[in-house]
Amino acid sequence: MSYGVVLVPSTSHAIRAERVCHLAGLKVKLIPTPRQLSSNCGTALRFDWEERETVEQVLRANKVDYDEVHQLEW
C-alpha cells in the first residue's frame, strides 16, 4: 500500500491538518515523522496516496501551511 506523508512546520500545524482533513471526511493519521525524511517537526500527517490531491486541496483551503509531501511504501 502506498501512503503519503505531509511534513508540517509544527505539531500545532499537524493537529490542525488532522482536524480539517477529518472534517472533510479524509482518512488521515498523525505519525512520528519517518526517520528517512528530514522535517522541522517530529509529527507528520499520513494519508492514502490516492487522496493526495484532496488532502492538499483541503489544507490549502484551510490555509494550513505545510512543507513537503512524500510518497512512502509502508
Partner: protein, 384 residues
Amino acid sequence: MIYFDNAATSWPKPPGVTEAMVHFLEKVGANPGRSGHRPSVEAGRIVYDAREAVAELFHAPDPLRIVFGANATEALNLALRGLLRPGDHVVTSSMEHNSVMRPLRALEEQGVSLTVVPCSPQGFLSPPDLEGALRPETKLIVLNHASNVVGSLLPVREAGQIARRHGCLLLVDAAQTAGDYPIDVQTEYIDLLAFTGHKALGGPMGTGGLVIGERVPVDELEPLKRGGTGSRSEHEEQPDFLPDKCEAGTPNAVGLAGLAAGARWVLETGVEHIRAHEVRLTQQLIDGLREIPGVTVYGGLDATRQTAVVSFNVAGLEPSEVGLRLDEEYDIMCRVGLHCAPAAHRTIGTFPTGTVRFGLSYFNTPEEVETALEAVRAIARANK
C-alpha cells in the same frame, strides 16, 4: 459565601474545567508537541482544542494565529512591545487598566508617542474624539473592550472602522468581556484581541492569549521571549511562523486543558444566554444600590451598556471599610480600591479613594444580589 469578585477572577469555574485538568495530569501528562509519541500528540491535541474553542468563540478564522500565554497582561505586552517602535504614535483611552497603561508609559520613555483620549465621567468613549486623536504616524489604537471599574463598553467596532480608514491597527483588551459578551474579531475589525483565561472564559489562572489578525505583520512582531518550541530544532534562530514564533517554552498545558473546557462550556451555554442573565442581575444590583440613601453608584447605570461590574461608594466610609464589613460580617467577597486602573478612577472622579466593586457572573443569582443589597443597606444605615 457570596462571591462577587468575578471581575478579578471567576469562581466557581464551569462544570468540566477541574475534571479536564485532572484528566490531563493523571492520564496525559506529556509535553505537547515536543516528542511525537502518543501522549505528547494527545497533549498537543488538548492545547489545540483550546485554540479551536477560543477561535470559535471570537470568530477568529485561523486557530494557529492564537498565541497562548500566561494572562491578558502578557498578551498585551506582546502586542504593545512587539509592534511599537520609537517614532510610532499610539492612541488609547482614559479608562485603561495598568496592563495597558504601564507598558505604554514605558514605551513612551523609549520614544513612542502616546495620546490618551479622555472618556466621559460615566466611562464612555466618543468615536469622534478617538478619530480626532489620530495622526499620520499612528500605528495602533488600543482600547479596553469594557472597563474593569464601571463595566462601560467602549465602541470597539467604530474604533475598528476608524483604524481601517486611517491605516492603523486596533488592539482590544478583552479581559473583562471574553466569555460573557459577544466578540467577533471579523465584523468588529479587531486586529489584535488580548484575553485572559481565568475570568469569564472559566479557565484557571495562568492562561490567556492574543488573537493575531491577518492585517498584523507577523514578521515585524517581536516576541517577548525566545526559546524551545519543538519545531525547527536544527535552527538556533526562533521560528518565524505562528504560533511558535511567540510561544517559546513549555506551555501551561494543564491550564489550557481547563481553558478548553471553560471555553467549550461558554460555547455550549451560549454567550448571549450568559450575557442576558448577567444583564438582569446587573440592572437589579444597580437599581437596588441607587435606592439606598448615602450610596453613589458609578458608570452609565444601564446594564445593557456595560458588563456585570458595578462600582459604588457609601458616604462617609472608606471603600476598604465597606469591603471588610461585607467580607467579615456578611460573607460577601468584593474588591475595593483602585482595581489596577488609576486612569479609570481619575476619569470617573474616584481617584485616589477608589470604589467598592461587585463583579457578577453567570453563577450568581437574584437572591444573592438581594442579600448583598440588604447588607449594603445595613452598612449605610449604621453609618448615618
